[in-house]
């Protein structure tokens, strides 16, 4: 007689043992595989970590933004540079004219000083003589006053006619005018002499003008220097930005911007790859492998990733992948040069 309870217990025991066997050996196999993987990756020098860069990738978008920004900056800098160039040209012309004027001014001043130095003694002597003449004329004019009185007495006495008297008065008045003119001439000459002296007001005016000219020249020179410095700074900045853009254009990310290539591989520093090396992808991480493409190019750009197994930071370079089987780029690791094992 079959006891259903016994059958049920035996079935449960059979299922339990089967499940236990599968689970325990599964876990054991998993642990062993994991240990093998740890050992393999500790010594492997052929693994690379593929990744796909899409044009919508944040890094790519970031780079695109930076390149556009840099190009805009370069254009702005070129506009500034042209402005500085034109300003510099104008300022240098102005500087040249001012320098020329300054030279002429100096020469004229020198000539004037020389002439003044010669003229002043002569004028001084002439003024002395004129002064002496004017003194003599004053004495004569004193006598002329007596003569005029005499003419009036003679006219009243009828000794002379009115016409003679008028003629005499006119002659006396003309003499007085001449004497006044002589005094004026003497005063003017004295003023002329004073103007020709070194500390005269006219000389001071001339010196002030010259100082203004010199000041203008200094200011202009300073402006020219500033403009030249700015121009050099702009040129350096343009060169730096251009170099950075050129560098960025050589990076793999730029290729993703242009959409030419979007599949790359991280190559740890310990591993070495060359353009044209075959690339293998495996079904079970490191076994059952096939060729999936070649290395398209290598980039001397440092990258840092998290190790696919050890989860530690790893430094290395980037390589471009030319994959005949594009979906291989989605694997965690690929191998360069050959299959990691013989199959």
């Amino acid at each position: 007689v079959i006891n259903p309870r016994v059958v049920l217990t035996k079935t449960a025991l059979y299922l339990y043992r089967t499940f236990a066997l599968i689970t325990l050996y599964g876990v054991l196999a998993g642990v062993m595989s994991y240990l093998v993987l740890l050992g393999f990756f500790a010594v492997s020098s052929s693994w690379v970590a593929p990744f796909i860069i899409a044009s919508t990738d944040t890094q790519v978008l970031d780079l695109t933004g930076k390149i556009v920004q840099s190009q805009q900056n370069i254009e702005n800098l070129f506009v500034d540079l042209n402005k500085w160039n034109k300003n510099l040209e104008a300022m240098k012309d102005s500087q040249k004219q001012l320098l020329s004027l300054n030279d002429e001014f100096r020469a004229a001043l020198s000539r004037q000083k020389h002439a003044d130095a010669q003229d002043v003694p002569e004028l001084y002597q002439l003024n002395q003589r004129k002064s002496a003449d004017n003194i003599v004329t004053e004495h004569v004019m004193h006598d002329a006053a007596e003569l005029e009185t005499q003419v009036e007495q003679d006219l009243k006495a009828g000794l002379i006619t009115k016409e003679d008297a008028l003629q005499s008065r006119m002659q006396i008045r003309a003499s007085r005018n001449l004497a006044t003119d002589g005094n004026i001439a003497e005063t003017m000459m004295r003023d002329v002499i004073r103007q020709k002296l070194p500390h005269s007001t006219s000389n001071m005016d001339t010196m002030a003008r010259r100082a203004e000219l010199a000041n203008s020249l200094v200011e202009l020179t300073a402006e020219i220097n500033t403009a030249e410095s700015q121009r050099v700074a702009d040129q350096v900045q343009i060169a730096t930005l251009t170099s950075a853009i050129n560098l960025a254009k050589r990076s793999p990310l730029y290729k993703a911007i242009s959409g030419n290539t979007t599949k790359f591989a991280f190559v740890p520093y310990d591993n070495e790859v060359h353009t044209g090396d075959p690339v293998y992808g495996c079904y079970l991480m490191i076994v059952i492998c096939r060729k999936v493409g070649v290395i398209g190019a290598t980039y001397d750009v440092e990258e840092k990733i998290t190790h696919p197994l050890f989860h530690t930071d790893v430094r290395g370079n980037l390589a471009e992948l030319k994959l005949s089987i594009p979906k291989a780029a989605k694997k965690n690791v690929l191998f360069v040069g050959g299959k990691p094992w013989l199959f």
Partner: protein
């Protein structure tokens, strides 16, 4: 996932730390425990000594029992040879020739430890029985100390904290010495204070005979999917005693020594049996959860519920960390530092309080600090999936030895 791992780890560490801190404080406050002992108590006692492939060791154990200061007229030893394939029986016969208080039973076929104990218990007529492993060495005063604890009729079972016989044999035994110390001398203190010790080791377990008779049917009926269960009888006996309404106690004045495995294969086997015991006990706890809630002190929940659950979650954590590929990165210097700090703490306590367990080179213990990962990740799972195994553990494959 990272957060879950962090949370579980934090709860485990915090819970464990709190238990150990509380235990440390209680230990300082009650260095001798709270139980008032009565040394006039000298009940009749049967030592139940199951033996399977122990060789000469069983003879040494019998010798150590007979050197006890306990009155010889009140002490008998019932040795059962469970069909050993080595020279154990010859050693038992030698001991029988030398001592008259020895009753020897020899099984014609291997029955397993649980049934050996039950049969021996039925042979006994004493008031008390004490299960002693055949590789345990008792201090001459150990039996007196243990019997003096049965002052109350409520006291059902009393155990002895184990000292390691071979602490400095190698790094593995040094590590186990530290583990034994932390388990017996620190972790169990709160249970000792409450007279509710969750597990009394089967290497030296004294129990009232009538209590043992009361729980014996349940022990005998123990099966897993129809397979006989032979491991973990000590934990099960303690558990049943508590659920029957009796108290359990561990007497820190009593001393005994037991050898710990010195090679990895034996250690693995022992740990596997212990883990199976753990899993079985957890299942039993869940089956009788309401009785636990009603009858036992809440502190035992830590032993019977929290630890198994925490270990299961910790095992899952480890599995998830490995499966998600963070296996190596997870063992960073912070965790290594934590392992080292805890190990040093246990060692420092061990060296301070237990001079006879002094380790010649304590740093060796650190080699096994990450053992808990294996324990939780694989051993617990393996134990849970081999509950149908009913062997004698380390002694099964021992070859026959010549005298």
């Amino acid at each position: 996932m990272e957060f879950l791992i962090f949370l579980t780890t934090a709860i485990l560490w915090l819970g464990g730390t709190l238990i150990y801190v509380a235990a440390g404080i209680l230990r300082l406050h009650y260095p001798k425990g709270r139980l008032k002992k009565d040394y006039s108590l000298k009940p009749t006692l049967s030592i139940l000594l199951p033996c399977y492939n122990e060789g000469r060791t069983v003879y040494d154990t019998i010798e150590s029992i007979n050197q006890s200061n306990y009155p010889k007229d009140r002490l008998e030893i019932i040795v059962t040879d469970d069909c050993s394939v080595d020279d154990s029986f010859e050693w038992i016969q030698k001991a029988q020739e030398e001592h008259h208080n020895l009753t020897v039973i020899r099984n014609e076929k291997n029955l397993g430890k649980t049934h050996v104990i039950l049969n021996a218990m039925r042979t006994s007529k004493a008031d008390m029985v004490m299960i002693v492993d055949s590789d345990t060495v008792l201090h001459p005063d150990a039996i007196d100390e243990v019997m003096a604890c049965f002052t109350s009729p409520k006291m059902g079972a009393v155990g002895i904290p184990a000292s390691v016989k071979n602490p400095n044999e190698n790094s593995l035994t040094a590590y186990q010495t530290a583990v034994y110390y932390s388990g017996f001398r620190i972790y169990r203190i709160p249970q000792v204070i409450l007279n509710q010790v969750g597990c009394i080791g089967g290497y030296a377990l004294a129990i009232r005979r009538h209590v043992f008779m009361e729980i014996a049917p349940k022990l005998e009926e123990r099966r897993f999917l129809g397979c006989v269960v032979n491991d973990g009888e000590d934990r099960y006996i303690t558990h049943l005693t508590l659920l029957a309404g009796y108290e359990t106690y561990q007497d820190s004045d009593a001393v005994c020594w037991t050898s710990v495995p010195a090679d990895h294969l034996k250690y693995w086997g022992q740990q596997m049996r212990w883990r199976r015991t753990f899993v079985r006990d957890f299942i039993f706890t869940l089956q009788t959860l309401w009785k636990h809630v009603c009858d036992l002190h809440p502190s035992l929940f830590h032993t019977y519920i929290v630890i198994p659950l925490a270990l299961a979650v910790a095992g899952l954590d480890v599995a998830m960390v490995v499966l998600t590929g963070g296996g190596v990165a997870w063992f960073d210097h912070h965790r290594l530092f934590a392992y080292m700090a805890v190990s040093f703490l246990v060692l420092a306590l061990a060296r301070h309080f237990k001079k006879d367990q002094d380790l010649s080179n304590p740093l060796r213990v650190l080699i096994y600090a990450p053992w808990w990962i294996v324990n939780n990740f694989y051993l617990t799972l393996a134990a849970a999936l081999t509950l149908d195994n009913g062997d004698w553990g380390n002694r099964d494959k021992k070859k026959k030895e010549t005298k």
